[in-house]
């Protein structure tokens, strides 16, 4: 305690002694302020730890909450977009409205080539999809029959890694893949034959027998209950839609590339009866679901911030009150109020650094751990997730932006709270303070 006063006394400009000439240089003075501030915060360890830990937990909760939320959204977008729709599609102008098999586009290899040549486009996947009745023995079920280019599609969706039995499709394969839940409903396995029936292009009766090449497990349970995949040639033949497609899926590395690539594609299809559609338009429901959920998350976060803010403010008010006498003595000894305020500011910043940094490090460990091994939900909760068509997994996002944001927010809360002691120091009367 005495040492502190000694330092303060030495550092007030009016009290310069010849032996400490060098203390006149501003940088040295600032260094001294930092030193005093650092020592000051450890004078009352308990108070420091309480304030720092409240900041730490604020960061941890904030980060964990956001990371979990954004991670879940990423998962949802991933299962809808990366595993299925892609970020951009080209379709016949009238297809999207009714999605009937009658509004098809022509499978033009030239167009496919031209789009693939655009900078940033990984590949162009032809797709032909419609509904069909799948029957095996006495059991029948409605299903979604999707025609894909096995090689190109696998590059984007990683379908082949989801095989649980049998082999993935070869190009122009005449067999089909059946999703896991659908196959167990029908009681079929590989090398069985199933019957598909539907109405094809322009009302043609589509009916044929297909061998099952493999069983594929789709994470989204809704899709897993009703998906059949065939090679594009096979599906075109089935629906009587030779050389026709429902869409071309443009495979691009990230959704951030959409703005650059979209105009180039639009330019290519300008004169044709085609249109582009992006993932947000294709997954409107998903987008709205995410937006509304995100709104709820942000409200929760604001409540958290308010609680944390008042916690911090409380400790700071307490600290200011406790140290009234100390402040009074120092100013009475000749310390300038602005220096005192600066010291208190640095004290608070140190506190914030300690709290927020430990918070950031701990939350980093938490989210990295859960990012690498997501929590799988089981039991009734899992059923609820499945009913909403979401994979029953609590996924975390490893986006470092979340961490930085939370750090900044909590730190700025602290900076706002520090206004109180600043004002207090500026306005207190020495005589009152000394009598406290």
């Amino acid at each position: 305690m005495c040492y502190v006063f000694y330092l303060i006394a030495q550092n007030t400009p009016t009290q310069n002694t010849p032996t400490h000439q060098h203390t006149n240089t501003p940088t040295h003075q600032h260094m001294e302020i930092l030193k005093i501030a650092w020592r000051n915060i450890w004078r009352n360890k308990q108070r420091t730890l309480i304030t720092a830990s409240s900041l730490m937990f604020a960061v941890i909760f904030g980060v964990a909450m956001r990371s979990l939320q954004l991670g879940t959204y990423d998962k949802m977008i991933d299962s809808a977009v990366r595993q299925y729709s892609g970020f951009i599609q080209i379709q016949d102008t009238s297809y999207w409205k009714e999605k009937t098999i009658d509004d098809l586009m022509i499978d033009s290899i030239e167009l496919q080539k031209a789009i693939t040549e655009i900078d940033g486009v990984t590949s162009v996947l032809p797709r032909l999809e419609s509904f069909a009745l799948i029957a095996s023995g006495e059991k029948t079920k409605g299903a979604f029959f999707q025609g894909i280019d096995p090689l190109l599609d696998d590059e984007m969706t990683g379908l082949s890694s989801k095989m649980v039995k049998g082999n993935f499709l070869k190009p122009n394969d005449e067999g089909i893949l059946v999703s896991y839940r659908l196959s167990s409903y029908l009681g079929i396995s590989i090398n069985d034959t199933i019957v598909l029936m539907s109405q094809g292009y322009h009302g043609v009766t589509s009916a044929n027998i297909f061998p099952v090449r493999g069983i594929i497990k789709i994470p989204n349970p809704k899709i897993d209950r009703a998906l059949i995949i065939g090679s594009i040639k096979t599906v075109q033949e089935f629906y009587g839609a030779e050389n026709m497609l429902t869409s071309m899926v443009i495979n691009i590395p990230s959704k951030n590339d959409i703005e650059v690539i979209l105009p180039k594609i639009k330019n290519l299809i300008k004169s044709k009866n085609l249109k582009t559609i992006t993932w947000t338009d294709m997954n409107k429901e998903l987008k709205q679901q995410i937006e509304s959920d995100n709104g709820g998350g942000i409200i929760m976060l604001i409540i958290l911030y308010i609680v944390v803010f008042f916690g911090i403010l409380g400790t700071i008010i307490m600290m200011t009150a406790e140290r009234q006498k100390e402040f009074g003595v120092m100013v009475a000894l000749g310390m300038q109020k602005s220096y005192l305020a600066l010291i208190v500011l640095f004290e608070t910043l140190f506190l914030g650094m300690i709290g927020a940094f430990t918070g950031a490090i701990v939350s980093l460990l938490i989210i990295l751990n859960f990012y690498n091994s997501p929590i799988h939900i089981t039991g009734e909760m899992a059923d609820i997730y499945e009913q909403f068509g979401i994979e029953p997994v609590l996924a975390f996002s490893a986006d470092m932006g979340i961490l930085v944001n939370q750090f900044i927010v909590v730190f700025s809360l602290l900076v706002i709270a520090v206004i109180y002691p600043m004002v207090k120091i500026k306005s207190f009367k020495i005589i009152d303070a000394l009598h406290k």
Binding site: D102, V195, M197, G203, V204, N208, I209
Partner: protein
């Protein structure tokens, strides 16, 4: 006694004459008109070939078929073209309708829920295929006016379903020509009395020993630009067909 006979004959004779006079130009009841019109189209039995064209705003498609009918209870249709659908057979037997698809070797009973769906993607519903002819017994018929349609004098008959019948229509209005009993136009209304579709028959020619319309158009009301045209290519009436012809076994055999 003689006198009595005399009196009776004097009074009866004008009466008999009167009756004969009114029967000389007998009025047909609306039901008889409808029955006659229906018999003209199908006869006791018929074997006919026809082409069906689906017309949609942006495309057209044709299907060829051969059809056997017997009375109003039995009918069988086999698709003869295009190649992709060739060999598909539909059979109506009393109130059941069956579909044989040779490509998958499956006999499918069309469930009642599909009765309002289009047959082979056309504007014909499965119910149209099933209930052809049931118009007569399941409806009560009323002659509402006579009108000239396509240069022919027509009876306009309104048929409303009897209360206990399982018909999907609210009412049907038919224009039947007084000369030849051709059903030239039929309008079908739903239960809320909105017009659902119109059938128009035209191109009356001599075929199978009869004069009859050979072109039928079905125009649905709520899909503008859509219609289905059926053209009769050839038809033979009243050859003997056994009831057993209309069997599931035979569906798999006929060509």
């Amino acid at each position: 006694m003689k006198k009595i006979i005399q009196i009776i004959s004097y009074t009866l004779f004008p009466l008999v004459l009167l009756v004969l006079f009114f029967q000389g130009k007998p009025e047909l009841t609306p039901k008889e008109i409808i029955t006659k019109a229906n018999n003209l189209r199908y006869g006791e039995t018929s074997i006919g070939g026809m082409d069906m064209t689906l017309v949609r705003p942006t495309w057209k498609r044709s299907i060829s078929m051969k059809m056997w009918t017997k009375g109003t209870d039995y009918s069988m249709v086999i698709i003869t073209a295009p190649a992709k659908e060739k060999g598909q057979v539909f059979m109506k037997r009393e109130v059941e309708m069956w579909n044989w698809i040779p490509k998958i070797s499956r006999m499918i009973k069309l469930p009642p829920s599909t009765m309002t769906q289009g047959w082979m993607g056309s504007d014909y519903t499965n119910d149209d295929m099933m209930n052809e002819g049931s118009l007569i017994d399941k409806f009560t018929h009323k002659l509402i006016k006579t009108e000239v349609f396509e240069n022919m004098n027509c009876w306009v008959i309104e048929s409303t379903p009897s209360e206990d019948s399982d018909v999907i229509w609210g009412k049907k209005t038919s224009w039947i020509s007084q000369d030849g009993f051709f059903t030239l136009k039929t309008e079908s209304y739903d239960e809320d009395m909105y017009l659902v579709k119109t059938e128009i028959a035209s191109e009356i020619i001599q075929m199978g020993g009869k004069r009859l319309p050979s072109k039928f158009e079905i125009i649905p009301e709520d899909d503008p630009g859509n219609k289905t045209i059926v053209v009769l290519k050839d038809i033979v009436f009243d050859t003997e067909i056994k009831d057993s012809f209309f069997s599931q076994q035979n569906m798999k055999r006929i060509r």
